[in-house]
Amino acid sequence: MKFAIQVNEGPYQHQAADSAYQFTKAVLEAGHEIMRVFFYHDGVNNGTSLTTPPQDDRNIVNRWSELGKKHDLDLVVCVAAAQRRGIVDEGEMKRNGKSAQNIADGFRISGLGQLVEAGIQSDRLVVFGD
């Protein structure tokens, strides 16, 4: 089965960010396909490379990057939500005249159309949030 995942909450603040990861991992282990993981609302904060959690805690951002690399996942951060919250890639940095970029490895910034398309093309869209 082809799944799409939507992550609506930020890391550490809300368990939805963990549950989305665990679910995605379980889907892949069960032999299904993840066609896209879309990060929206504060969920875009799952894609910042500047996260530095305490060493004895899980690294939520790196965990996504590693899973993404292993399974060639399409990890998409919503551009409108990212702009509000300061998640920036090279293109956004240049376009908006910002001094830095912070998009984490394996993530890309794109539009909300990617979320709607995921809803159309997947068999199941699973939303993680309140």
Binding site: Q6, L112, V116, G119, I120, L125, G129
Partner: protein
């Protein structure tokens, strides 16, 4: 634009300004309208406050995005289901909501109400029929 048409439902459950969910939900609806899917919106719980008329955010320095709901008809988003019990529990009636309308192209562009009052049980049936459900 896309080969298949799915039934898309956007559920709105939160008050308009306490969090950003309502506004960012509306942004998905507006973008999604370009994909020519069969779109419905549902308003339940505190989400019914999103449609209250006469919203004034000047004192809280937030953008009043309520006029955007009036544009939904032009985007062919014409089915706004409002849960009757959620209104009643908050002491509200249909009269307290914005009179949202659309022009029905299948009926000589007659102006029709976009808001449809449904009971909790009816809304459950409507949700049952959907292919994709976004919850905000």
């Amino acid at each position: 634009m896309s080969e298949q048409i799915k039934k898309f439902m956007y559920i709105n459950r939160r008050a308009p300004y306490g969090t950003i969910y309502a506004w960012e939900s509306l942004e998905v609806v507006l973008i999604g309208a370009a994909f020519d899917q069969d779109v419905s919106l549902a308003f339940m719980d505190d989400g019914v406050y999103q449609l209250i008329k006469g919203q004034d955010t000047s004192e809280v320095d937030m953008k009043n995005f309520s006029p955007t709901y009036q544009a939904l008809g032009d985007y062919d988003v014409t089915k706004l289901f409002v849960e009757k019990e959620s209104l009643e529990e908050r002491g509200l009636t249909l009269e307290d909501l914005m009179p949202l309308t659309y022009e029905d192209e299948d009926d000589d562009w007659a102006e029709k109400a976009s808001i449809r009052l449904v009971s909790r049980a009816e809304l459950a049936d409507i949700l049952e029929q959907q292919d994709v459900i976004f919850s905000f």
